[in-house]
């Protein structure tokens, strides 16, 4: 997916976000979170603005951004499905469940369906280990999943 926002717009909106955080201690992560909330990703053009505002190099900001799994360089699909791959979910068939969805969607982890509808991400624990297997779809939590329930959630989601 490509970001459809003009570069100057990205710069202005990022500057406004950064200004709102300049009085907090350790502002970089809160800024990156808000930038991603704004654009669906952390665009290249935003990195330079953040670096300027915090008196860091662009490389330093890129280094931080790329360290954390949450931050994307490009926007995700219209829906995001995060399936837990950790041990508690494995113990009740989480791997087979994930495998089924990957086949049905025809994509691998971190990939988006060609129509841009769904992005599939692994997540290592949603804290629902007593109601496993678990997944998060567009921020909504789902526990005690089986094939039918998960494919229902995925297939019923709008375009």
């Amino acid at each position: 997916m490509e970001l459809q926002v003009p570069e100057a717009d990205v710069a202005n909106r990022t500057a406004a976000i950064a200004d709102g955080h300049l009085n907090v201690e350790g502002p970089l992560l809160p800024i990156l979170h808000d930038v991603q909330k704004e654009f669906g990703c952390v665009p290249e053009a935003a990195l330079r603005v953040i670096a300027d505002k915090l008196n860091l190099s662009r490389a330093e900001v890129h280094g931080v951004m790329s360290f954390y799994h949450d931050f994307r360089q490009e926007p995700a699909g219209r829906h995001v499905l995060k399936i837990c791959r950790a041990e508690a979910c494995q113990s009740v068939g989480g791997e087979v469940l994930a495998e089924g969805v990957r086949k049905a969607l025809g994509i691998g982890w971190h990939e988006t369906t060609p129509d841009g509808r769904i992005t599939l991400e692994p997540v290592y624990c949603l804290g629902l280990c007593s109601c496993a297997p678990a997944a998060m779809f567009d921020g909504e939590l789902h526990g005690r999943l089986d094939d039918a329930a998960l494919s229902g959630i995925v297939m019923e989601a709008g375009r």
Binding site: L28, R85, E87, S91
Partner: protein, 523 residues
């Protein structure tokens, strides 16, 4: 008296439909013109019964569960607002065996109260600890916590009082309290439950820590995977500020303390205290070498207490009821209670707080009811992805820091994940290495590169490529990672790998082609 209906707002309950149940109840109330109060409480921790709906009427409180939205009209027909008989009725909540047998000190209010009602909090003993603390000298508070025997509940088990004493005595005008709420271990959810179910207890514990050590600022560092916990904590902090629990004068005293919630960004390693501090500072979450200890040079180079949620949430009861009261629970050098999390392939999954000393077998079989699948238990992983796999032969191990260490394991954050006999322990060992490779911060070579080599070595065992040589290599690699890594990620990944190899050698035999889909999944 108007009946009160409780429907949990806990993420686990929501994940299995609690919001839809609450909506159905609200709709039914208005359709029938019945007056009742609907409270969104925390979870009682009986997760196999979630959504567990409770009703309070005439001094009684009864539970129904697991409730589906479609059950709601039937519950009204059965007169559930007066405790009417229904197939989902479990009787008085407090009399349910899973709850009755527990010793709830840290989780005393969780699931009982409205998490965001300060009145409810006070009514159930909240703020007694902080009120005691503001009238004490800092050194006396620290002594109290030391005397209680409280040890770090995040897994390392370091005495909390000693850590506080170091920070109290450290020179410095600026000091910090950092709550490690980066609960990334699979099989654990106690931090999440307390933040969603009793957020004021964490605020109270952090304020006490601030007063005891001379810190005026606190941070809760939690996970982006916990949106409900973040929201509840932020709302509770706002209330605490408005009511003078936080701010320039804590409960009208001369002590100032304020705090905020910070959200991580999906890096497991940030649960390690030094990488957490780097992340809070806005850096890559890379592990720092110790010394210097965070207690002396922590956040922004200032003396910093870094404590787990459960450690801090246990402090109010210690100040309220006394160090002796808390220390009298437990065994050996493991004092007090531990909120144990039963998870994975288990019939009665949930939160079980009890004094240290209960055996692993009692937890899994008696309390947990064995596997969910009904098949025999094969292995139990205790302490998250860095914890050892225990076979049923070791089920007599008492839950205690030292007893688990003696069996080459750890209690960690007390997550217990059960696997039935369909589990392949070679595959679990491979996953431990794979997870370490994905989450390594990259600082230490044995972790960064060793984990990748570890996956390859396990694959060669599975492929039957000189398996005996590969097993020796795997042992050697584990030893290098254990001794050559700065933090627990590289240092403890050998625990699940070696325990799988030691207790389940029969699984480490060639099995061509079975791992292929997983190998692809690694990318």
């Amino acid at each position: 008296m108007t009946p009160v209906i409780f429907v949990p707002r806990d993420a686990a309950a929501i994940a299995v439909g609690a919001n839809r149940v609450a909506e159905a109840i609200a709709a039914e109330l208005s359709a029938r013109g019945i007056e009742a109060e609907l409270v969104r409480n925390g979870s009682r921790g009986l997760h196999w019964l979630e959504p567990l709906v409770e009703v309070r009427f005439c001094d009684r409180r009864v539970a129904y569960g697991p409730v589906k939205p479609s059950d709601v009209p039937g519950l009204f027909e059965a007169g559930f607002l007066e405790g009417g008989a229904h197939p989902l009725l479990h009787g008085e909540t407090e009399e349910m065996p899973f709850l009755k047998a527990q010793t709830r000190l840290t989780f005393a209010r969780c699931g009982v109260t409205d998490p965001l009602s300060l009145d409810d909090y006070r009514l159930h003993g909240g703020l007694n600890g902080l009120e005691t603390a503001v009238a004490m000298q800092p050194a006396d508070i620290v002594q109290h916590v030391t005397d209680s025997g409280l040890r770090g509940r995040g897994g390392a088990g370091f005495p909390t009082g000693i850590k506080w004493k170091t920070v109290l005595n450290a020179p410095g005008v600026r000091k910090y309290i950092v709550c490690n709420a980066d609960e990334g271990d699979s099989g654990t959810f106690a931090d999440r439950m307390i933040m969603e179910g009793d957020p004021f207890v964490l605020i109270e514990g952090m304020a006490i820590a601030g007063i005891a050590t001379g810190a005026a600022k606190g941070f809760i560092y939690t996970r982006s995977e916990y949106p409900h916990a973040i929201e509840t904590m932020q709302a509770a902090i706002e209330t605490a500020r408005k009511t003078g629990i936080l701010g320039p004068s804590v409960l009208g005293s001369a002590h100032a303390f304020d705090m905020e919630v910070r959200v991580g960004a999906g890096a497991y390693v940030c649960g390690e205290e030094t990488s957490l501090l780097n992340s809070l500072e806005g850096k890559r979450g890379v592990v720092r070498a110790k010394p210097p200890l965070p207690a002396l040079e922590g956040l922004f180079g200032c003396p910093t207490v870094v404590n787990n949620v459960l450690s801090l949430a246990s402090v109010p009861v210690i100040l309220d009821k006394g160090a002796d009261f808390y220390r009298d629970f437990g065994t050996g050098r493991s004092r007090g209670t531990m909120p144990i999390q039963l998870a994975g392939n288990i019939r009665h999954g949930g939160l079980y707080e009890t004094a240290f000393g209960i055996t692993l077998g009692e937890l899994v079989n008696d309390i947990g009811g064995g596997t969910l699948s009904g098949r025999p238990v094969k292995a139990v992983q205790v302490g998250g992805p860095l914890g050892a796999y225990f076979p049923p032969e070791l089920f007599d191990t008492p839950f205690d820091y030292e007893a688990f260490a003696a069996q080459d394991g750890l209690i960690g954050h007390a997550g217990v994940v059960v696997f039935d006999d369909t589990a392949d322990m070679l595959r679990q060992a491979r996953f431990a290495m794979e997870f370490c490779a994905v989450e390594s911060c990259g600082k230490c070579t044995p972790c960064r590169i060793g984990a990748v080599r570890g996956v390859e070595v396990v694959d060669r065992i599975a492929d039957g490529d000189k398996p005996e040589e590969q097993i020796d290599l795997l042992k050697d690699l584990c030893n290098t990672m254990k001794l050559g890594s700065l933090c627990a990620l590289g240092g403890f990944t050998p625990y699940p790998v070696m325990s799988a190899l030691t207790h389940f050698p029969q699984d480490f035999t060639p099995k061509p082609n079975t791992l292929k889909p997983l190998a692809e999944a690694a990318e």
